[in-house]
């Protein structure tokens, strides 16, 4: 039996700043994962990934990342992706700075 599809978000880095960004339902990019589109269907995810990748003059390194729904919207399930929503742990730099 094929593995069941787990929810995902589409993420990348912004071309100019390199900051982590997420693809929204409106096909824009947000700096906040909570505004991302949570993808629960594999076929839909593949189409959305192609659409996101087409925006190559604004973004770099588009990929699907594991995510789950929370009260505030989509959130991470893995520590690497969680770090991308915050910034490094040794200084208050990156997103947590704002």
């Amino acid at each position: 039996m094929p593995r069941s599809f787990t929810p995902k978000v589409i993420t990348a880095n912004a071309l100019l700043e390199g900051d982590a960004i997420w693809f929204t339902e409106g096909s824009t990019w947000s700096r906040d994962i909570a505004e991302a589109e949570l993808i629960t269907d594999e076929a839909h995810g593949e189409i959305r990934l192609l659409e996101a990748k087409a925006d190559q003059s604004n973004v770099v390194g588009v990929y699907l990342a594991e995510a789950k729904q929370s009260a505030n919207g989509p959130t991470t399930t893995h520590f690497r992706e969680a770090f991308r929503t915050r910034g490094p742990s040794n200084y208050v730099h990156g997103k947590q700075e704002a």
Binding site: L15, E17, Q56, S57, T77, R80, H93
Partner: protein
């Protein structure tokens, strides 16, 4: 120090202009990321977890004060006020914006610096003993050869698309402070029976996924033959090295799969072919380069004041006991400035700290600074009469920590706090170990101990050659840390042995504490270092300390 000639200057300026145009074309959409990526990597620009990262080469770890001041300027102008010195004697900026990078490279070119070949499958920054030119035990300053190699390898048309990256390190003495046995090519200045100076050439060392100690390809290559010999090695590797599997592409695997004898034969054959083509031009360059590395004019002065200050000030005495090394000139010392105050990020220096270090080098240190692969900054030429003034100035900017070679002098890669390849964080582990042993006030009691931490299998943190190595991994979605024991990155290179199952993020620092306190009970006397005790006793008692449950089961 080597100063750019017109050719170097024009070359670097041209490269900056090319990259500026490439960045513009990427931003206006004329270049896709697939097209642009090779260009940015050629110029040291990576994309990491949170931002771009620019890796600037510090060739053979040598800087003057103007260069260090420029690094501080870059940190303030384009970054967040600091830079990160790496285990390959480079500096990395963690927050540049794409649009600013051409300006950063242009500013670097103003002081004879660049970021060329700090990435990609090319010959990378040539590293050297950070005490080069100052060490008492040195046969010859290895930096002229390192500079020759830098010039030869920069934009070398044959070697821009090697099977994998290629790292060269050079040392001028038997004592190995450049980890030459863990490089693709390690070069050691030696003297033969006739007293002639030449080079021992070691090939195929490396850490990473498959750690290997380099093998001696030739025990003596004469000075005139070194460059063609190195070219022959890289040339043979370029043809023979595997391109089908990234993990088997480094020369260590080529050497392992083909055997030293075969590589020797091929290198000799290639050498015979290309040697006549050099025609002595490399030796003319080398002679010019050697002149620019002439020793500074050392001064003579009384050191009575220094001795008196040592007696009067215990903190100064402790710093001089820990952070100084023997210098070749009478009355001089080599100062290692620890940029690892307890709890600080290993390798990070603020712009203010960089400026103070630059000022001290200009005022007291014959205008020279070095970056060590152990992520500290060195003032290689300091007269002892100036040490107290230096210490006082360093103390004001948190740079007077007396911990060189001790447990808190930890090498740590950026890990998952920054690096896109990392599988776990390194920095917080280093911070916690240093803070913990500072609180215990045991650091000096424990004595010489090298802890090295990598946040992934690629081993930028040199964990395999740490007396205690820590490797951060992702185990089923949580950070997990494996400990290796008994590694050694000096001339007696040893790859550490894995101790057993890994520890969770909350358990790794207590495990290290248990291990180090256990060592204090195991050592024969205060002078027996951790590594000596490990070599005498073997791994078993240390494993019992790390895994008490298992030890109890075995005893039952």
């Amino acid at each position: 120090m080597y100063v750019y000639n017109d050719f170097d200057e024009a070359f670097v300026r041209t490269r900056v202009a090319q990259f500026r145009s490439q960045v513009e074309r990427r931003i206006d959409g004329s270049l896709t990321e697939d097209e642009f990526k090779p260009f940015r990597l050629m110029n040291g620009l990576y994309l990491q977890l949170h931002a771009y990262m620019l890796r600037v080469a510090v060739p053979y770890g040598t800087l003057n004060s103007a260069q260090m001041n420029k690094l501080a300027y870059l940190a303030d102008t384009y970054d967040k006020g600091y830079g990160h010195f790496t285990t390959r004697q480079n500096i990395q900026y963690n927050w540049p914006e794409l649009r600013d990078v051409p300006d950063m490279l242009s500013d670097l070119a103003d002081v004879g610096m660049h970021a060329i070949q700090t990435s990609g499958n090319t010959i990378r920054n040539v590293t050297a003993d950070h005490f080069a030119g100052a060490a008492k035990d040195e046969i010859e300053d290895p930096r002229p050869v390192a500079e020759l190699l830098r010039q030869w390898s920069t934009d070398h048309p044959e070697f821009q698309g090697l099977p994998r990256k290629f790292k060269i390190a050079v040392t001028g003495c038997e004592a190995d402070r450049a980890v030459i046995n863990a490089h693709d090519i390690g070069i050691q200045v030696v003297r033969n029976a006739g007293g002639e100076i030449g080079y021992k050439v070691i090939v195929g060392g490396g850490l990473g996924r498959t750690p290997m100690i380099g093998k001696v390809l030739s025990s003596f290559v004469s000075k005139v033959d070194l460059l063609p010999y190195c070219e022959a090695i890289v040339s043979v590797y370029n043809l023979l090295g595997r391109r089908d599997n990234k993990y088997k592409a480094r020369i260590k695997i080529t050497l392992h799969e083909n055997g030293v004898e075969k590589i020797q034969e091929l290198v000799e054959a290639r050498f015979e072919q290309i040697k006549p083509l050099f025609g002595g031009i490399d030796q003319q360059f080398l002679a010019q380069i050697e002149q620019s590395f002439a020793l500074p004019a050392f001064k003579t002065a009384s050191i009575d004041g220094y001795e008196a200050a040592r007696l009067a000030n215990p903190a100064f005495r402790s710093w001089t006991d820990t952070n100084l090394s023997d210098h070749r000139a009478d009355g001089y010392a080599i100062v290692s400035i620890s940029i690892k105050k307890h709890g600080a990020t290993p390798g990070d220096a603020t712009s203010a700290q960089m400026r103070i270090m630059a000022d001290l080098a200009a005022q007291y240190g014959h205008d020279e600074l070095r970056i060590s692969h152990e992520q500290n900054v060195i003032l290689p030429h300091v007269h002892k009469s100036d040490l107290h003034a230096i210490y006082t100035a360093l103390r004001d900017v948190d740079l007077a920590t007396a911990n060189i070679g001790l447990i808190s002098d930890i090498i740590a890669c950026p890990g998952m706090d920054y690096c896109a390849l990392a599988t776990a964080r390194s920095i917080p582990v280093a911070q916690e170990i240093a803070t913990r042993f500072d609180a215990l006030k045991l650091e000096h009691e424990v004595g010489p101990l090298k802890i090295k931490i990598s946040g992934c299998i690629n081993a930028c943190g040199h964990h395999h050659v740490g007396h205690i190595g820590i490797l951060g991994l992702d185990r089923a979605g949580v950070e997990n840390y494996q400990i290796t024991l008994g590694g050694d990155g000096t001339e007696t290179t040893t790859i550490g042995e894995r101790a057993g199952p890994g520890f969770g993020a909350d358990d790794i620092v207590p495990a290290i504490e248990r291990l180090v306190l256990g060592y204090l009970d195991l050592r024969m006397c205060k002078d027996e270092t951790f590594l000596q005790a490990y070599r005498r006793l073997g791994a078993a008692p240390f494993k019992d300390i790390l895994y008490p449950e298992k030890a109890r089961q075995n005893a039952a």
